[in-house]
């Protein structure tokens, strides 16, 4: 399942990043496999999504969050 399918409050571990060559910025922001994440918020229209990881919160658009498998 990708982060887009998860509800607010979901907590889990990143399994993989899809299309990784185009998403190096996600890796560099700390979205690496085995990292714990939690969904903090979803905006009214479902994007962007606030994701807590490594001690901070990062907002990602739906298209970016779709690439994160948990």
């Amino acid at each position: 399942m990708t982060l887009v399918n998860c509800k607010v409050g979901f907590r889990g571990i990143i399994k993989d990043i899809l299309n990784v060559e185009n998403n190096l910025h996600l890796l560099e922001n700390g979205f690496t496999p085995d990292t714990e994440v939690e969904i903090i918020s979803k905006s009214t229209l479902g994007s962007p999504i606030g994701i807590q990881l490594r001690g901070t919160i990062i907002a990602l658009r739906k298209e970016e969050a779709e690439c994160i498998l948990v």
């Binding site: 496999p33 009214t44 479902g46 807590q52 990062i58």
Partner: protein
């Protein structure tokens, strides 16, 4: 080589929100100048060490926030290469890496890259108070051993630890005479990033220790990965799908209205000060070209720069509060989706908001948009945001069409004009977005920093610096353009064959009038004549000049502000088109004028700043042509349409 003679160059490097700019302000005491990296529109700041830390010849440079040395856009590539070899100062002697300790592994990533690229580094560690809220602390001894670097805990918000940091910089500079030439790889592979993060996560585990007074850390909660607990709670509300929107509208509504009501008394004061000084000069100098230049050119010119300072100061102050407290990035998140549909991004929100005060600070603020296309598009639509220079014009025109017993019509009219501004902006963004080429992928990836109570000293300082930068960047062009427009509406003066007592105002014989009379047919379809035309032309100095030029061409000489508006309204009521004898200002022609002002780019200063911020003439020229031409046709459409419907 001049050993010891060359001033030392120190660059602050860190991720966005790490506290770099706060540290920079603290080290320089807020005394710095802005520089521009070659070829791109990203600024850097350079200042000297504040005297209170001792006398040095250091040049301290604040660079734009970077997540990684792995550049993803052209601007980032230039920024990164300037770290290794600065265009003005060469190879830096020292990098101060600013590190947010509450998210250690993420932040150590950039430090790791800097260290591998051979930079000479001292590390400033921030946010230890945020970390302490999670009952954790950094084991600095272990961290230093791991990296073989000096780590200094600081809290620049409260000026704590900066003395120790300066001492560490001093001893480092004494030790290292000539730094190695840094070598930054062109690319960092996926394998590199993954293995680095693996290693850094282990280091993080090793150096984060529970605070000594707490023996039991709840392992199950995995506190290390949690964000600040208070921040999590606040975000549950402020980023809630429904409540978040409500708070957004409330906060922005408050910000927006305060720009107007808080600034108004000060703006009136400035206005009357300039009125009084103009009168003073008029009564104390002989009538001459020089007097007219001083009164109508210089004093009015400086006045039109300063009149907007109160609004701009309030805007920067309130935005400083929102930014320092951490709300602005949430606002960007909430508004991202609708803006993205228009080809913009949540990051365009703050610049657009500034644009409602004045397009110029809006364009300057667009620097924070990383994506090239989104930045260009934001700058492109900026002149359509209903800036406050339009207000005096709207006020006059709305008063003209509002019946005395129904004042609320004016209020609704103003609301419609602001909505129209957002609508026109959206349409323009939608159309222009199809033409601006994409240089880099649009990523949002915005960090939401921990909420903090704002530090007033810092906000006052940033308000001062931003306002200063507005005055220097916009003030000089505004002044030059007003002087030019003054000359255009002043020369060549009345012909000799007209007796002195029969002469009208100089504006009637000016080049501006001649041009306007020559192109008068252009103004007929919009229900105007050459007098409206000359006022429209002089509005290119600044939109609000429209009102005073109108007063000039209708020979309103009353000095008193209130009766000026009343007598102007009266003469507008009576004004007739010379050739046909029809009324000049009617419901339809006034609506038309308002539409024209809403859309046309009539502010030459905006054009100059747009040229500076986009790096070429292409966008500013497009803005002038597209907005002014479509303003004209929309106005014709509105005027003729209304007349066709019988609403003359």
């Amino acid at each position: 080589m001049h050993f010891g003679l060359k001033p030392k160059t120190i660059i602050l490097v860190g991720q966005p929100n790490a506290g770099k700019t706060t540290l920079f302000n603290s080290l320089t005491g807020g005394n710095f100048r802005t520089g521009n990296y070659p070829g791109i529109t990203v600024d850097y700041f350079v200042g000297q060490l504040n005297q209170k830390y001792g006398k040095t010849d250091w040049r301290i440079i604040d660079s734009p926030g970077l997540n990684s040395l792995n550049a993803k856009s052209e601007d980032e590539r230039v920024t990164v290469s300037c770290l290794a070899n600065h265009p003005e100062f060469g190879i830096p002697d020292l990098i101060v890496s600013v590190l947010d300790s509450s998210q250690l592994a993420r932040q150590l990533y950039l430090l790791k890259q800097l260290q591998e690229a051979n930079f000479n580094i001292v590390v400033a560690v921030t946010m230890t108070d945020i970390l302490a809220q999670k009952h954790l602390q950094v084991d600095f001894a272990t961290l230093s051993k791991e990296f073989k670097l000096k780590f200094i805990p600081i809290n620049a918000r409260l000026d704590k630890g900066t003395n120790e940091l300066v001492a560490a910089i001093k001893s480092n500079l004494n030790e290292i005479e000539n730094p190695l030439e840094p070598k930054i790889p062109n690319e960092y592979s996926k394998e590199y990033i993954l293995s680095t993060f693996k290693q850094l996560s282990l280091i993080e585990k090793e150096v984060l220790k529970p605070l000594s007074n707490i023996n039991q850390v709840n392992k199950k909660l995995n506190l290390v990965s949690n964000a600040n607990p208070t921040t999590r709670k606040i975000d549950k509300i402020l980023l809630h799908p429904f409540l978040g929107g409500v708070f957004f509208v409330l906060i922005m509504g408050f910000l927006f209205t305060s720009i107007f009501w808080m600034a108004e008394p000060v703006m009136d004061l400035i206005d009357s000060i300039f009125g009084v000084s103009a009168n003073f000069v008029t009564s104390h100098l002989e009538e001459s070209l020089f007097r007219d230049l001083i009164v109508d050119g210089v004093i009015t010119g400086i006045g039109s720069v300063l009149i907007f300072v109160p609004q701009i100061v309030i805007l920067f102050f309130l935005m400083g509060v929102l930014e320092d407290s951490g709300y602005l990035s949430r606002a960007a998140v909430i508004i991202d989706y609708p803006l993205k549909k228009l080809g913009l991004s949540g990051r365009s929100f703050v610049p657009m908001l500034s644009g409602f005060a004045c397009a110029i600070p809006g364009m300057l603020a667009a620097k924070s948009i990383l994506n090239y296309k989104e930045r260009m598009l934001t700058i492109f639509i900026m002149p359509l945001m209903s800036c406050s220079a339009r207000l005096p014009v709207y006020a006059l025109l709305l008063t003209f069409i509002t019946p005395k017993n129904k004042p609320w019509i004016g209020g609704i009219g103003l609301m419609l004009l602001y909505s129209a501004s957002i609508f026109f902006g959206s349409v323009a963004a939608g159309i222009a977005g199809k033409f601006i080429r994409k240089k880099d992928v649009s990523v949002f990836t915005l960090e939401l920093p921990a909420y903090r109570f704002p530090v007033w000293k810092l906000i006052f300082r940033s308000t001062f610096n931003n306002s200063k930068s507005y005055l220097t960047k916009a003030g000089i062009p505004i002044l030059i353009i007003s002087l030019f427009m003054w000359a255009f509406t002043y020369f060549p003066g009345a012909p000799d064959n007209i007796p002195k007592d029969a002469q009208l105002d100089r504006i009637e014989y000016s080049y501006a009038s001649q041009v306007s009379k020559f192109i008068e047919p252009v103004f007929h379809p919009i229900g105007g004549d050459w007098r409206v035309g000359v006022s429209l032309i002089s509005a290119f100095a600044a939109r609000e000049v429209f009102v005073s030029s109108l007063a000039l061409v209708f020979h309103i000489t009353d000095e008193n502000e209130d009766s000026l508006q009343n007598s102007l309204l009266k003469s507008m009521e009576n004004a007739k088109i010379e050739s046909t004898g029809e009324k000049l200002f009617t419901f339809s022609s006034v609506i038309g004028l308002m539409i024209f002002f809403a859309v046309a780019l009539q502010c030459l200063t905006t054009v100059v700043v747009s040229r500076k911020e986009t790096g070429s003439w292409l966008i500013p020229v497009l803005q002038v042509v597209c907005f002014t031409v479509s303003a004209y046709f929309l106005t014709v459409l509105a005027v003729q349409g209304l007349r066709f419907l019988g609403l003359s």
